[in-house]
Symmetry: C2
Subunit: 396 residues, 2 copies
């Protein structure tokens, strides 16, 4: 389908146009990924304040021109038009947009699009090539379908919270909105594969991705443990359920990670620790036995680590080829030269706020420029004139 923008973006999704009705996180995260890969994303926002994340902190700027850095990060390099989907004239504009679009994505609760006269049954008749992507908390079907969901709800319901943290301590959330983000990533996969399939079939499809389903899909080892052994997995701090030693350890001045998942690495670790007794101990002779005796082994390793600093141990482990690393704060890792080298912090220049750095695109394609600067997030309705001009006589 032809993209009508004047300056076409680069990337594998160059030429693809996405009409984005979503708000806050799962949907906008998905369309951020698609935009980073070259798609043109047009946010259709409600005129009454727009995307809710415009009003969620942290805020930058001062006085009357503060903006949400959170919104700015998630919506870089998108366009915005404000439309009231309950208004007939505005719905006509949406229909005109869809004539030239490849994808529509929405994250209303199931049934809302139908009430607006924008359900898949209507749209597929008018736009047979359109890919319709619905991302929701619980999916378009099933007993929980009508429940409202946010990240914290699916983190708690989906089981990940029950296996994160320390036993006998209060539960903890994963410190990033993994409930939304995972659904956004699965939806990005779904849309990309639907675009691929459409090159063969010529027709669009409807996609249903739920945040709760996506949480089940990332439980991995925990599902296997429950299904194979009937064990209800518990939180294990920083250790792995079935690989040992594979965890965070305390040294003289802080923490470091050691991941010695097989016998050869365990031998090298013992050499670095100058502790041949670990190799001779029958309790530690296989990974299965080390996992059985994980508490004893952890105590012994931490006793040995206590006499030197994290950086001394990391040097020695690195020389011996034992997988290891520091426990970084967000500031630590964002200032690591590797992150700059990998272009994982990009810059946008907002006309009101100035420069803002944000996480870059982790998908690196040979031959596609990995832009270190990207256009900023749009103001609400900021691209109205340009978009309407492109539509021309389609809207009257």
């Amino acid at each position: 389908m032809q993209n009508i923008t004047t300056t076409q973006k680069q990337g594998p999704l160059s030429g693809v146009t996405v009409i984005d009705l979503t708000r806050v996180l799962a949907g906008p995260y998905c369309t951020m990924v698609l935009s980073d890969l070259g798609a043109r994303v047009i946010k259709v926002e409600n005129p009454n304040g727009g995307d809710d994340s415009r009003h969620i902190g942290p805020f930058v700027g001062s006085g009357q021109t503060t903006k949400s850095a959170y919104f700015m990060s998630l919506n870089r390099d998108k366009e915005s038009i404000a439309l009231d989907l309950k208004n007939d004239d505005d719905r006509k504009i949406l229909f005109a947009l869809l004539r030239n679009a490849d994808v529509i994505i929405e994250n209303f609760r199931p049934g809302v699009m139908e009430k607006l006269g924008l359900g898949w049954d209507v749209l597929k008749t008018r736009y047979p090539e359109l890919i319709y992507a619905a991302v929701s908390g619980f999916g378009q079907s099933g007993p929980h379908r009508d429940r409202p969901a946010y990240d914290i709800v699916v983190q708690a319901m989906g089981g990940i919270m029950s296996v994160t943290g320390h036993k006998d301590q209060p539960p903890t959330r994963v410190g990033t909105s993994i409930g939304d983000i995972t659904a956004g990533l699965f939806m990005s996969i779904a849309i990309s594969t639907a675009l691929y399939e459409r090159t063969k079939t010529g027709t669009g499809t409807k996609i249903d991705v739920a945040m709760l389903d996506s949480q089940i899909a990332i439980l991995e080892n925990a599902v296997a443990r429950y299904m194979a052994l009937g064990e209800n997995p518990q939180p294990l701090g920083t250790r792995h359920p079935s690989i040992t030693p594979f965890s965070l350890f305390k040294a003289k001045d802080g923490y470091l990670v050691i991941a010695a998942g097989n016998n050869s690495l365990f031998q090298r670790l013992s050499e670095v620790l100058n502790a041949p007794e670990l190799l001779e101990d029958p309790r530690f002779s296989t990974n299965a036995l080390r996992t059985e005796h994980v508490e004893t082994l952890t105590r012994e390793i931490e006793n040995l680590l206590a006499n030197r600093s994290v950086s001394e141990w990391l040097d020695a482990l690195s020389k011996a080829g034992v997988p290891s690393g520091p426990l970084n704060t967000v500031a630590d890792i964002l200032n690591d030269p590797h992150i700059e080298f990998r272009n994982m912090l990009i810059t946008t220049e907002d006309p009101d706020i100035g420069q803002l750095k944000m996480a870059g695109n982790p998908i690196k394609f040979e031959g596609v420029p990995d832009l270190a600067k990207r256009p900023p997030a749009p103001d609400l309705d900021g691209d109205r004139e340009k978009i309407l001009a492109e539509l021309g006589e389609c809207v009257s």
Copy 2:
């Protein structure tokens, strides 16, 4: 490219063939997603034990026929051939496989494929349509490029561990291997979009996805806080950094989640709690103020919650339309009828072990059967004869 398998799978990636050299998690997770969407995945395993995850628990079966339920879950519906990539004859078989393949994926450390004579420079000349996907710990470039990485290493280095858990308590890992899984998801997006682009360009590409980069990409609000405010984000237990109340709360007999992220929901929550004083308190009159006074508000809410059970509160909150939910264990959620309704637990039938249930595919396409039964994971080299027969005279 023509798929030579006799019974073609269904899904948007039907007809796509993936040659999979990866082991353990990020790579196999990616190819599991691709297989679930219809791709044919041929695992090329080292003859000396195969994929390491065959030897990682939990194990099922008894006596001589135990198998890893972990491996079985991640590798359902794939095929296996054992090849020694250092052996000339075996490399010839790999080359023959690549003639009919669309994608090759590997997760060796950077440089290993080149040493094997299988680098992108060699392969792109021989197979110009091939998509070459490299998933690694730190990427194909940059100062950390040669370091070995496992999930726990990038979780610690990438910052997510520093924002997960409770302040002044020992750090915790996210209870699932989010370091690997996120990279696997980004790679699935990358491969799908490369397949799409190839329908227009006719040529393949090389993709570089790193686990550490992927961790940066999911830090979301934490990056914004550091970049916008210069704050180094700390762990916050179960609460959200900038939305309040949006967290886990203690009731009479356990925990529940309440996510009342705007004024209207906060009002409804106050009504359910029968606490008009919350609405009159100037400290709680906006989301920003509620976030500033989060500790006081949490205490007040928990005082009110203490007199009734979790299920009583969830009923009342649900009726009032306040987003809320229980804190489920893995057993709780896997036994929730919604999960069965959504087909998020699928079954495989292993010839030696019998039935094993595992997490299903969270991407639901209109018109594509969402199979509740899938073929089992292969034994090491289990599809050799069939695969060699298909290659026919290509290998001699």
